[in-house]
């Protein structure tokens, strides 16, 4: 498949030149291409923020909803039509701030969707405020004395909440990021890919800083246990990159629905013809 199939030549991309968002977009498109996913079968779901504009730059179906409310519609879309590939993208504000509750509970639900977070440790579209994942001490117009709150650790939280696929990537390593995204999409169940990216405009974390302060987990055949994964997750001296945790075989949200117990046809393609059955039901009240 040609990678161009996902291109939107006319799109006026709103990101700053040199922004890490471009790299994530590339990795995502490449991953989708290599997985041979058809644009018509792909739904990109997002919220509000610079990161959440991503769906407008990919040829795909788009559900660009509310700030922070990415996962609920993503889970629903997948449930209504499990044949769709559903990729939910958002910023760290979207996913860890406004949307924190949905993150935890979408993990518990384990819908078979892929969740990519463009983590610039910042609210960029609203012109520089701290996000939950901002580092201690970050100074912004709202945090004039620097951030004092414990940085939100998405990897650790996802592991605790019972996520079945948890990874962290770094935007500059497009090849590695692409591979992680591919695995995430192929994974059956909810997968979180937190992608670190610098913000060149507001100068929060540089490419260099990330390069120097991260390392890739050795991905041997053996997968980490939850404890080991957690231990890795709370390393902050140097941020580990790669796949922290995978749990295979857990039933998904869709699979748990009675509607799919004996009938695999997507709900949306079933004919809704209820006259007779409703009559029976109504008569049961006599």
């Amino acid at each position: 498949m040609d990678a161009k199939i996902f291109d939107m030549p006319c799109a006026d991309i709103a990101w700053c030149p040199g922004c890490g968002n471009f790299l994530i977009l590339k990795s995502l498109k490449d991953a989708l291409t290599e997985l041979d996913i058809k644009p018509e079968n792909l739904v990109m779901v997002s919220g509000v923020g610079s990161a959440s504009k991503t769906p407008h730059y990919i040829r795909a179906n788009v559900f660009d909803g509310l700030h922070g409310r990415i996962l609920p519609p993503a889970c629903a879309i997948k449930a209504v039509n499990p044949e769709l590939t559903v990729v939910a993208v958002g910023g760290d504000g979207d996913m860890y701030g406004e949307g924190g509750n949905h993150l935890i509970h979408a993990i518990r639900r384990n819908s078979n969707i892929t969740n990519i977070v463009h983590n610039n440790m910042l609210y960029c579209l609203t012109r520089k405020q701290a996000s939950p994942s901002s580092s201690y001490g970050l100074i912004t117009p709202v945090q004039t004395h620097g951030v004092t709150e414990e940085p939100f650790n998405p990897v650790a939280i996802a592991i605790s909440a019972g996520a079945t696929f948890v990874a962290r990537a770094f935007c500059t390593d497009t090849e590695k990021t692409k591979e992680i995204i591919k695995k995430a999409i192929l994974h059956k169940g909810y997968s979180l890919v937190d992608v670190l990216m610098p913000c060149v405009t507001f100068e929060v974390n540089s490419y260099k800083w990330f390069k120097e302060n991260s390392y890739y987990l050795e991905q041997t055949d053996k997968v980490f246990s939850r404890e080991e994964a957690f231990k890795k997750a709370i390393e902050i001296e140097k941020l580990p990159l790669g796949i922290f945790y995978i749990q295979e075989g857990k039933a998904t949200f869709e699979e748990n629905q009675t509607a799919y117990k004996d009938n695999k046809t997507p709900l949306v393609f079933r004919e809704i013809s209820r006259g007779k059955m409703i009559n029976d039901l109504l008569h049961s009240y006599t």
Binding site: D64, L71, P72, A79, V80, H102, L267, F269, Y285
Partner: protein, 546 residues
């Protein structure tokens, strides 16, 4: 109360006691039994927000004629705890016969039921048989113990009937025996199913949880995806996602839960998503009186969500309307691609009575979904504002929706001219919906001087009050479609010498809406906001004095 009185008009029986004493269970069973015996029955309950203790009361009206509203009058009171009498003092008259159920009885509720059947001289066969069926799963021992208690009660009832010279002789009817007996919750859920509902994500909240539970019950048979979400925000966003993917979804909640959904309502507005929202109103603000009743959220439904976008609001007043309007909500949400509200309340949802069987002809649900072409545009401009709705994965096109203002493709735009065009497009859909309005129902003398106005759940109380007050210069106009208000209504309003709005709220919200929309003043508001519904008898007095 004399036995003579009761003979033709029926009796009103109240059971009162603590939560946990099985009042709910027994009054429902009693009601079904009377109905099975051919009596018209109406069961209205009122209870506290707790699982055990407190005081709850349920009213069963048993009648020769149709009964479907609440009355204050109590003919027989079965007090399962002594405090119940003080609690109900305002409704007790000299005529009320009070029966204190001895504290020694284990199954107080069954005992009281037995008494009632004894008093009303119903042969104990059907009751005993239905009691047996009802308790089936509980095992032989419980059944026997209950039957024994029932019989004791029955005997006591017969005795009392002699003692107090209670002679009840209400006519039964063959027809009623085969009617449906249900409450508003069930009727709404059935309407949803009939409207093709196949997705529900909600969060529990009284008095609206029932609709969720009924849809869960139906889910296995009707292929309904069900999810109890982590919060109301999630549930609303899920449902909108479900519509986007081609399902037909509803959320059921109360005012406080709905507040949390208003941002997503606004989303549905701009992405032109169909959506069905059931608000089971209850007295607010905030937690308020969580298990009581009120019609306080009309203005909330009218104006919730930031920005300006069209919506439709239905407010059923009877079981038939619960069914029909719930069904219509799905059909019209889909047709006009906009959110449709169902406004109910505890009074409507939890009151049961018998109605003639609703028959459904075998019909396929017509979904307004198209198979998309390669160049599909979700927001294509058309004459009437409606763009053909595609869904992802069905056809060659791409379906893009965006919470920002967008172009025909569904991608975000900041173009001011396009903005204006999109506003007009969205507004046109409301004009369309207005042309296909569900008209208010006119009841009473067409040569009225005074026109009573009401909406939603107050309907049956007002109709009965109208009948009871026996005034010829009164008529009643009941709004089922509260928004948009059908313009034809204006004529009916201007014809009246006096307009009186009857609402279960503080501010007279329908009256305000009529002023807003028609610039017609309402002369008088009859308002009730103590957490209880309008009672037909009390209201009859009030309108009698107009």
């Amino acid at each position: 109360m004399t036995s003579k009185n009761m003979k033709d008009k029926g009796v009103s029986v109240v059971f009162a006691g603590e939560a946990g004493q099985g009042i709910d269970t027994i009054t429902l069973l009693i009601s079904k039994i009377y109905k099975k015996c051919g009596y018209n029955v109406c069961l209205t309950k009122e209870y506290m927000s707790r699982i055990r203790g407190g005081i709850n009361s349920s009213e069963i009206r048993i009648s020769k004629d149709r009964v479907n509203a609440y009355t204050d009058t109590i003919d027989f009171l079965f007090a399962l705890i002594p405090e119940a009498i003080e609690y109900l003092k305002k409704r007790i008259t000299k005529e009320t016969l009070i029966f204190k159920v001895e504290p020694s009885e284990r199954y107080k509720n069954t005992y009281a039921a037995g008494m009632l059947f004894g008093l009303t001289a119903i042969s104990s066969d059907i009751p005993e048989q239905m009691l047996r069926v009802f308790l089936e799963e509980k095992g032989e021992q419980v059944i026997n113990k209950n039957l024994e208690t029932f019989k004791k009660g029955y005997e006591k009832g017969r005795e009392l009937s002699e003692e107090k010279a209670v002679k009840i002789n209400i006519d039964a009817s063959e027809e009623v025996k085969n009617e449906m007996f249900m409450n508003g919750t069930e009727a709404i859920a059935l309407g949803c199913v009939a409207g093709g509902c196949n997705f529900i994500s909600s969060y529990p909240m009284s008095p609206a949880t029932g609709v969720f539970i009924e849809l869960v019950k139906a889910s296995d048979r009707f292929d309904i995806i069900t999810e109890q979400a982590e919060d109301e925000i999630s549930s609303m966003n899920m449902n909108i996602g479900a519509w986007y993917a081609g399902a037909r979804a509803i959320v059921t909640t109360s005012g406080g839960g709905f507040d949390l959904m208003t941002e997503a309502l606004s989303l549905a507005g701009i992405i032109e998503s169909p959506m069905v929202i059931h608000i089971g109103q209850r007295p607010g603000p905030a937690t308020g009186l969580p298990t009581k009743t009120e019609q306080g959220d009309l203005e909330l439904a009218l104006y919730a969500g930031h920005g300006e976008f069209p919506r439709i609001i239905y407010a059923p007043g009877s079981l038939e309307e619960c069914y029909e309007l719930a069904k219509a909500a799905f059909i019209n949400a889909d047709k006009y691609q906009m959110p449709v509200f169902l406004l109910s309340d505890q009074y409507l949802l939890e009151r049961s009575y018998n109605i003639p069987v609703i028959n459904v002809s075998e019909e396929k649900i017509n979904q307004n979904i198209i198979k998309t072409e390669k160049d599909y545009k979700r927001y294509q401009f058309t004459d009437n504002g409606l763009s053909p709705r595609g869904i992802p994965g069905y056809g060659d096109g791409l379906v893009c929706v965006d919470s920002d203002e967008h172009d025909e493709d569904g991608h975000l735009t900041e173009d001011c001219d396009l903005r204006v065009k999109m506003i007009h497009k969205r507004r046109k859909k409301l004009d369309l919906a207005l042309q296909n309005s569900i008209m208010p129902e006119f009841i009473g003398n067409p040569d009225y001087k005074i026109l009573l106005l009401g909406w939603g759940s107050a309907k049956n109380s007002i109709i009965e009050a109208l009948r009871l007050c026996k005034r010829n210069d009164l008529a009643f106009l009941h709004f089922k479609q509260v928004f948009p208000l059908p313009p034809e209504t204006k004529k009916l309003l201007t014809k009246a010498k006096k307009l009186v709005a009857i609402e279960n709220n503080t501010n007279g919200q329908l009256a305000r809406l009529i002023r807003t929309e028609f610039c017609i003043n309402i002369d008088k508001n009859i308002l009730k906001y103590d957490g209880l519904p309008f009672s037909a008898d009390k209201l009859a007095k009030e309108i009698g004095e107009l």
